[in-house]
């Protein structure tokens, strides 16, 4: 048993070191992306004002973009007198809009980038070794296939941690310096940390499933990347739904189709994750489904790997 544990730790250690080496460029670009998008959030001024919600009603309104749309309309209406008198209205945002900026830019971009990178690495973790025919080293050792799979999974989580920690620190910084008066930094930071961790686990599980399923590294990586692309497109659609509804209302078009479109966008885990930051009270409901999905994908991948015939 002791040799099993030390062997497992050895695989985790080797995998993590190898992955961290491969992750170095990703750490760099992730940092650049986070800093640029954070700068954008810091570039605006936020005040404690409320939004006049009576100006417009939207059917599919439970979405951060609705808030922005409402604020834009509210700002336009309230600035009419200033504009008429020849003055340029100065645009300041309420705290709630600031948080939405955080959701739409640093968080959305970071989630997409991190997910894309981890799924790519996860989807090649077994296929890559299968193609290089190095998997026999571990597979003919006393380690079980399930412990090899779990060790590789753990290595991927550990290699993703620097990105998660960096974003957690950035979240703490944003919330403590910009929105401290209305949001608890602790809650926001921990919430984002949980979201990023669940997201990483989900996409690593999905990537490893592709890795166990396919024999070809390119095919597995392509599938993983496409999954993230589709998810981010669906969430982008979700963000745009209030805007689409607004436009359709202006042209008196039937908006029923938006109901189905909105449902479709919930396939993407990013939608639930962004929504959780927008409305933290609903996070716990999404957490169950995201964790369940991760467990199913992980067990499915592990089952396939255990049954798989290996080359050398």
């Amino acid at each position: 048993m002791t040799s099993q544990i030390t062997g497992f730790i050895s695989i985790v250690n080797t995998e993590t070191r190898r992955l961290i080496k491969g992750f170095l460029p990703a750490y760099f670009w992730f940092t650049v992306l986070v800093l640029i998008s954070t700068y954008f959030v810091f570039a605006e001024k936020y005040v404690d004002i409320s939004i006049d919600r009576s100006l417009m009603t939207l059917k599919y309104a439970n979405n951060p973009m609705t808030e922005i749309l409402l604020y834009t309309v509210s700002f336009a209406v309230s600035s009419v007198s200033e504009v008429m008198s020849g003055k340029i209205p100065s645009m300041v945002f309420p705290f709630s809009i600031g948080v939405i900026f955080f959701i739409l830019f640093p968080l959305m971009l970071s989630l997409t980038y991190m997910s894309g990178h981890v799924i790519k690495k996860a989807s090649t973790t077994i296929t890559g070794e299968e193609e290089k025919k190095t998997l026999y080293i571990m597979a003919t050792s006393p380690q079980t296939r399930s412990s090899i799979y779990l060790a590789k999974f753990t290595g991927l989580i550990l290699a993703t941690l620097p990105m998660i920690i960096l974003f957690y620190l950035i979240t703490e910084l944003i919330f403590s310096s910009l929105f401290l008066s209305v949001y608890s930094t602790y809650d926001a930071g921990i919430l984002v940390l949980q979201i990023l961790l669940v997201n990483a686990v989900l996409f690593i599980s999905a990537g490893m499933l592709f890795s166990a399923l396919f024999k070809n590294e390119k095919k597995a990586s392509w599938t993983g990347t496409k999954v993230v692309t589709v998810c981010s497109l669906l969430t982008s659609l979700w963000i745009l739904i209030p805007f689409l509804e607004f436009m359709m209302n202006l042209t008196n078009s039937n908006t029923d189709i938006l109901f189905y479109l909105e449902k479709l966008t919930w396939i993407s885990p990013f939608t639930a994750e962004l929504m959780s930051v927008y409305q933290p009270s609903v996070f716990i409901y999404y957490l169950y489904s995201l964790v369940s999905a991760s467990v199913i994908l992980f067990l499915l991948g592990m089952g396939i790997f255990i049954k798989k015939d290996l080359e050398y």
């Binding site: 062997g7 050895s10 190095t134």
Partner: protein, 297 residues
Amino acid sequence: MIVARKLNKKYGKIRAIIDLDINVKKGTIHGLIGPEACGKTTMLRILSTLVRPDSGEVTINDVPLSKGIQIRKMIGFVPKTPHLPNDRTARELVTFAASLHGIHDAPIIESIMKQTGLEAVADQKLNRFSQVMEKNVAFAMAFVHDPSILLLDEPLAGLDPVSQKRIKEFLLASNKTVLLTGQDLDIADGLCNSVTVMKNGSNVVDGEMAIIRQQLGKGAIEIKLLDTGQTQKLLFELEKKGAKVTVSGESIYVHYENDHEIPGIIRAAANAADIKDARPVKLSIDDIFAKLHPLEK
């Protein structure tokens, strides 16, 4: 001890192994001999638990193959062409292989590096290694936990004579149960106690090496004549002296059991006909099948 009974394995529609029986006695070296794609590698993949058989029973030291962890603790496995991560040093890889078995003692690792001749290059990355050196690393990785069973896929293929000698000496002195594969019987000579000759996934011949060699003979001399019209005369003379002779095209093959028969054969042939060329030839695996199963050919 390795025992396989009625083993079958299919890859899609291809039957890689058909009702294969193997019995390797404890402490002996057994050769699994056969041409390319006859199922030797599949057999090793099954024994090393990389692949599951479709049917049949396998036990290693009386432990069924289904008890994977126990089996893998007992085996040391070396592939024909080991593919190792070339961004790692030999020492790192051997240490990693040792750690998978829960071994962390530096002296054990050093000792195996010494035994496999890797001492001087232990801290060099594998991308600077030749194929021979890489194979030595694979040997070190497979032997580091002192396994009682060695599964070696064409262990001498691609090795230089010095490494071949070292591996042979190691195997002969090891007193371990060894199952090795090869494409012809030469690899088994002086190394294996017993062999299984395989063809199309099944065992054609199974037995002690000495008995099989007696059945097969050592080899043959290929004789070519200046005048092919003298062939019948030569055959008559050689058969009169009790030699086993076969003809293929312009070549006449005279089979012999021991090397000391060669001068007599040459003398008899030279007296009977004008020889253009005479050279010893090794028995190919096809010749072995033809000799042992003439009807099959």
